[in-house]
Assembly symmetry: C2
Homo-oligomer: 153 residues x 2
DNA sequence: GTAATTGCAAATTCTTTGCACGGTC
DNA sequence: GACCGTGCAAAGAATTTGCAATTAC
């Protein structure tokens, strides 16, 4: 995905929602785009943004992330470690992707595949619940850590 | 599920892990058992426990919930509202149950059905990830709120 | 021009920790 | 009597908010 076109798209979204495009918001967006694969916390985003715009304040980052969450540009996720993390929604992705959280090394891998189609149908029909989105995280041991454990044995 | 037998079982688990079953811990457990269907935060557990044992401290509740989480008696879950919630693991349940979070009224419904069997197989084989547990929450509109919306239209 | 946005610091909220005291085997 | 567990208050971490100054449109 072209960073610039993604940026333009969000700009449009911001304007349509009545927000201004400030340099601070642009810098924050750039950081998110450059770290697409990570799951940065607000503090981490702040750390990276500060290298581009040293005068930015943490509160501004929090406020920007809140707006982007409301616009569904990012998804706020939490992996039970007490920090909110922000995950860029993939361009054109119908569904929010899933996560594999390694209990050993703490690494988080992403799964783009949908996988939940049938499950959502069951939820819709059997529980009469109109599904809009989902959060799915598997807890377990990643490939690397499995290999390490085998060596130890 | 018999409250008393559930209590006995946890007592055994505590002892096996080298912990005592103190009156405070027992009161906390009782609150969890009595509110099995809810997803209480630590503060809420504290509130209910205080009615049984007015002298209990909030820190004790936090410490108890941490022990119970480590023993997998409860699961710590987070629905992105900034508070950790504690969900009693069902007796004999192979898998952690799923949640339906209504975006309208905020209510959380539970699904006991597994539903993820095939999905886990895909994750295991295609991503070489050894699944130990999962967290699945659907965001959407619950049956009650759907009915309300229809009336408005 | 003016309403939105910002940075800073203070305030809040949730959770953890230090420590002296109390209960238990 | 060693040790675990407790309550309280203080500390810590994450996030939000109030406000005067600044900026985008």
């Amino acid at each position: 995905m072209n960073t610039n076109s993604a940026l333009m798209k969000v700009k449009k979204q911001l304007h349509e929602a009545g927000f201004k495009l400030t340099p601070q918001r642009e810098a924050t967006l750039l950081v998110l785009l450059e770290n697409e694969k990570d799951h940065l916390s607000a503090e981490e985003v702040f750390f990276f943004v500060k290298r581009k715009s040293p005068d930015i304040g943490l509160a501004t980052v929090y406020r920007t992330l809140e707006i982007l969450t409301d616009l569904h540009v990012v998804d706020k996720v939490s992996f039970n470690d007490g920090v909110a993390r922000y995950d860029l929604r993939k361009e054109g992705a119908k569904h929010f992707h899933h996560h594999l959280l390694c209990l050993e090394c703490g690494n988080i891998e992403e799964i783009e595949e949908d996988l939940l189609g049938e499950v959502e149908e069951v939820v819709e029909s059997r529980y009469h619940f109109a599904v809009k989105d989902h959060r799915l995280t598997f807890h377990g041991i990643c490939r690397q850590c499995q290999n390490k454990q085998e060596k130890v044995l």
